[in-house]
């Protein structure tokens, strides 16, 4: 029997490693048919550290366990007695039972570095299908699924793969964008730490579909655990000869530049340069890494692929809303009671997410604003919370779905400060290549400061709006191009904070 304590960084941030150490210590002194395993997180972060134990009738959960609870917990587990931290069967926890986990099916369930666990729970099935298919048929299957780039841009994945598949050249690359820099997002990290083989299987399928021999995973340095787990997982795949023969992957670590989440600046960084954005065209699909045709996909995009290959594009496309097909691993964070990972078919409303699943604010105060899609996403007021979480509905409401990070604020938030922060963040992270972003962001901070200080208020509000038009129309990439979204949504929906 196994006892699971998450090794996920978030779980560890609230004591999971200490809990695991204590269990290890207690178990070492006894002859028991119980051994400690480290899993990923189920994503129910308010319950972390969440300990699970295997029983003949399924896995039982214990929430908010601290190291000092370990001896009594162990007694309860061995004797079958009740324990105050017991939550019952983990699968019956409502927040988990309500989800539709395709990508996250194994995250939290398995030991992330056990190939045996991976196999037993459906690993390699997508690859086995893909291996027997022509590359163009793989592309067609992904196209049929309706899968769109989960990094934020929402570009159809099948179309991107088709372009690279058809691009001439013997040398091609698959690059996984794991530079998950948007505030409020952690799904990529959870996949890398909780089911790294899934991502690697997805990359292998992508490589076959487009004819690539080499892959890179560009992981941000803020995720040291993910880097460790991925490197170990790649080693294990090499030992299985699943990697190293015709296709191999290397992990590269970023260095704290948010803009490197933009695909062309990520490629520059991989080449050893300053992470400055490249003008497009040429598209990376034609001239990417070292000038070779390159697929750049987000972690969640690649991680969705094995399921699509196993079950067929049509099964994936059967879920979702309008042109947003499939499921989305939504990340709920900020000032919220039940923050965590919710994988659900696209199309759930913000209200359902924030209140029905999230339980409102953690502070108990009223929800005032909800930011969707990271630092370049819009702030939604209460009256717009019935907007569905899908690509088009979000765009229509003046926002973006982005990487589906949702951050909740209570009524102590000041949206003029948040608008100022949006410009400040853009100024900090601008790569400096284009003028609107490099200069406009700083001018934006200064102008918002004048508004806050009540200097020529209406004139300066008009100036900010004008500046936003320039940023939107004339920036090279999404950093400058989308910074106006949080600023304008703050101005439009929360004008009282600018008075």
């Amino acid at each position: 029997m196994r006892l699971f304590v998450p090794a996920d960084a978030a779980a560890a941030s609230v004591g999971a490693d200490e809990v695991a150490d204590r269990f290890q210590h207690e178990l070492a002194n006894r002859q028991l048919d119980l051994r400690l395993a480290r899993n990923g997180s189920r994503g129910l972060f308010w319950l972390e550290p969440l300990v699970e134990v295997e029983t003949p009738t399924g896995r039982l959960a214990f929430g908010n366990v601290s190291a000092k609870d370990v001896p009594s917990l162990l007694e309860a587990i061995l004797s079958g007695a009740s324990h105050p931290l017991a939550l019952g069967p983990v699968d019956a926890i409502p927040a988990l039972a309500r989800q539709r986990r395709l990508t996250f099916a194994r995250v939290g369930l398995v030991d992330p570095l056990s190939v045996e666990d991976f196999r037993r729970h459906g690993g390699f099935r997508g690859w086995q299908k893909a291996e027997a298919m022509e590359p163009s048929t793989i592309v067609a299957e992904v196209t049929a699924s309706g899968l769109r780039g989960r990094g934020g841009a929402g570009f159809p994945t099948g179309l991107k793969w088709k372009t690279v598949n058809e691009a001439p050249g013997k040398r091609k690359y698959v690059v996984c964008n794991a530079d998950e820099g948007d505030s409020g997002t952690f799904a990529d990290r959870m996949v890398m730490e909780g089911d790294p083989f899934l991502l690697l299987e997805g990359m292998r399928i992508a490589a076959r579909a487009v004819g690539a021999s080499h892959g890179f995973i560009y992981v941000r340095s803020e995720y040291p655990r993910a880097v460790q787990v991925l490197r170990r997982a790649i080693e294990l795949f090499r030992q299985l000869s699943f990697f190293g023969h015709g296709f191999d992957v290397e992990v590269r670590v970023g260095a704290g530049a948010y803009v490197c989440g933009e695909e062309t600046s990520l490629l520059e960084s991989l080449e050893g340069k300053r992470g400055q954005v490249r003008p497009k065209p040429p598209l990376p699909a034609h001239e990417g890494l070292f000038g070779k045709p390159t697929v750049v996909n987000n972690v969640l995009t690649l991680a969705a692929v094995p399921w699509i290959l196993e079950h067929g594009g049509a099964a994936y496309a059967a879920l979702g809303r309008d042109r947003s097909r499939g499921t989305m691993p939504i990340q709920l964070g900020g000032n919220v009671k039940f923050g965590g990972l919710y994988e659900l078919p696209l199309g759930l409303t913000l209200r359902e997410l924030v209140f029905d699943l999230g339980g409102g604010t953690a502070s108990g105060r009223p929800v005032r604003a909800v930011q969707v899609g990271g630092p370049l996403g819009a702030y939604f007021p209460e009256k717009l919370l019935d907007t569905p979480l899908d690509y088009e509905a979000m765009a229509k409401a003046g926002g973006i779905l982005g990487h589906a990070g949702v951050v909740v604020f209570d009524d102590t938030v000041n949206l003029a400060r948040q608008a100022r922060f949006a410009f400040e963040f853009c100024a900090l992270e601008s790569c400096g290549k284009c003028t609107p972003c490099r200069i406009g962001s700083t001018r934006g901070v200064e102008t918002i400061d004048k508004i806050i200080a009540n200097v020529d208020r209406s004139k300066n509000v008009a100036l900010v709006r004008d500046l936003c038009t320039t940023l939107t129309d004339a920036s090279l990439c999404a950093l400058g191009g989308l910074t106006p979204l949080p600023v304008l949504s703050a101005l439009d929906h929360f004008p009282e904070d600018f008075r």
Binding site: A9, A10, A12, S13, V14, F45, W46, E48, R171, E180, G181, S183, G184, T185, F186, R189, H214, S221, E222, P224, R225, D248, E250, R252, V253, G254, A255, G256, A257, Y258, S269, E271, G272, K273, R274, G275, Q276, Q331, L332, G333, G334, N335, V336, G339, G340, A362, Q371, P375, G405, V407, V408, F409, D410, V413, Q418, F421, F425, L428, E429, C431
Partner: protein, 168 residues
């Protein structure tokens, strides 16, 4: 965590090893400069920062100008050009942590511990970071580039700084 004193021979070994690793993986595609970020990370990991002697060595080994290496070094927030404290605390200042009070923690650090972003006090260097992927358990901080801490409050920060050797 203790950093090694500057040692040109050791630095050269690191640079060569990282270059070889990149070459072995890529074969004949891609210039050696592709190893630049891994090299800078490895140097900083060993010596705590990337000195001007190190820049000169890297430039020489990769056949780049010193300006090119310095351009990359200074572009990325992670890389330091001066020796940091024995411990580093990177406090998340992004929106999800702001929503849970990270700004008042920053104020507390300044007031009680005389720590503002970029400064070092009693062996602890404070840095600002923007998202550590712990957005449901904020405010969060990353300690010594490796240990993530969540659910921070003023007392938690005091304990953390105290444990790292600062004023408790």
């Amino acid at each position: 965590m203790h950093f090694a004193p500057w040692d040109a021979q050791r630095a050269r070994t690191i640079i060569v090893a990282e270059t070889e690793k990149a070459r072995a993986f890529l074969g004949d595609d891609g210039p050696d400069a592709t190893a630049l970020l891994p090299i800078l990370h490895a140097l900083q990991h060993t010596f705590g920062f990337v000195s001007s002697e190190a820049v000169e060595l890297v430039a020489h080994q990769l056949n780049l100008s010193r300006a090119e290496v310095k351009g990359v070094l200074t572009f990325y927030e992670d890389f330091r050009t001066h020796e940091p404290g024995a411990h580093r605390v990177a406090l998340c200042r992004a929106e999800a942590c702001q929503a849970r009070g990270s700004e008042s923690l920053a104020a507390h650090l300044a007031e009680r511990h005389r720590l503002t972003p970029g400064s070092t006090s009693q062996g602890v260097t404070l840095e600002s970071t923007y998202c550590l992927g712990n957005c449901a358990l904020g405010p969060a901080a990353l300690v010594d580039e490796s240990k993530l801490v969540g659910r921070l409050d003023a007392q938690g920060i005091d304990r953390l700084i105290g444990a790292l050797g600062g004023k408790s």
